[in-house]
C-alpha cells in the first residue's frame, strides 16, 4: 500500500510518498507526476522519508520522466531516502541520473541552485 500527498510550498511542489511502491501501486506515483506536469510545476521535491520499499516499477516511474523533465527544464530532487531503499538506487547507479538530497532543507537548496 502506498499513500501519496502533494503540497506546494515556496514555489516547490512536494510529493510525499509513504509505504510500499511495487508493481501494483506504482500507478499512484505515476499519477502524481502526471498531475504535477499538467499543472506546469518547474521544481519538484519528492519526500521519501516514509518510503519503506520500492521495486523497479516505482524506480521506473522516476526514470521515465527524466527525459521530459530535462526537455521542459523541470528540476527534480529526491530526499530522505532510508538506507535499505538507498542501496537499491546504488545498485542501479540512479544517483548519477537523479539529484538526491539528504533532507528537505538540502533538497530546497539544490532546487535553488
Amino acid at each position: 500500500m502506498v499513500n501519496i500527498e502533494k503540497e506546494k510550498n515556496e514555489d516547490v511542489h512536494f510529493i510525499r510518498v509513504e509505504g510500499d511502491v511495487d508493481a501494483g501501486s506504482s500507478i499512484h506515483l505515476d499519477n502524481a507526476f502526471k498531475e504535477v506536469l499538467e499543472v506546469g510545476e518547474s521544481r519538484i521535491a519528492v519526500d521519501l522519508t516514509r518510503l519503506v520499499y520500492i521495486s523497479s516499477a516505482g524506480l521506473g516511474v522516476f526514470v521515465s520522466y527524466l527525459d521530459e523533465f530535462e526537455l521542459k527544464k523541470i528540476k527534480l530532487v529526491l530526499f530522505g531516502i532510508q538506507e535499505t531503499v538507498r542501496q537499491v538506487f546504488d545498485i542501479l547507479g540512479l544517483e548519477k541520473l537523479i539529484a538526491i538530497a539528504e533532507n528537505e532543507e538540502e533538497a530546497i537548496k539544490k532546487l535553488n541552485e
Partner: protein
Amino acid sequence: MSKSIVIVCSKDELTKIRQFVADELDRNKIPDLEAHKLVLAVDEVCANLIIHANNCDPVNKIELDLDFKPKQIVFTFRDKGVGFDINKYDSPSMDELVSSRRQGGLGLLLVKRIMDKIEFSTEKNYNICRLVKTIA
C-alpha cells in the same frame, strides 16, 4: 531447511510474498540490508511471472520454495505460464530507458545484480526459475 508458499497470479499477492520472504530471512538471521535486497529480487521475479508469464490471471499459481543451506539461500519459483529465461534477456542500458521514457526494464537488471546465480529450466509443464545467493 525449506519453506514454501503458493500465490495466485495477481499483483495484490506481491505484498504477501514479500512478507513471507522477509519473515523467513529474519528467522534465519539475515541482516536487514541484505534481506531487503533479496526480498526485492524475489518481488521482481514474481511481478514478472504474474504480469508477463501469466497475464495477471488469478487462476494460475506460482509456487516459491526457500531453501536455506549452510552457505547459500536458494529461491525456486515454479509456474505454468509462458516460459522465460532471465539469462537470455538483455537488459536495456539506463540511457536507453531514459530516452525511451519506458517504465519497465529495471527489474531483471536488479535481479541479475543482486543474485549470484540464476537458472531456468522446464520440467513436466512447469517452468522452474532458481535464484542462488551465497551468504557469508
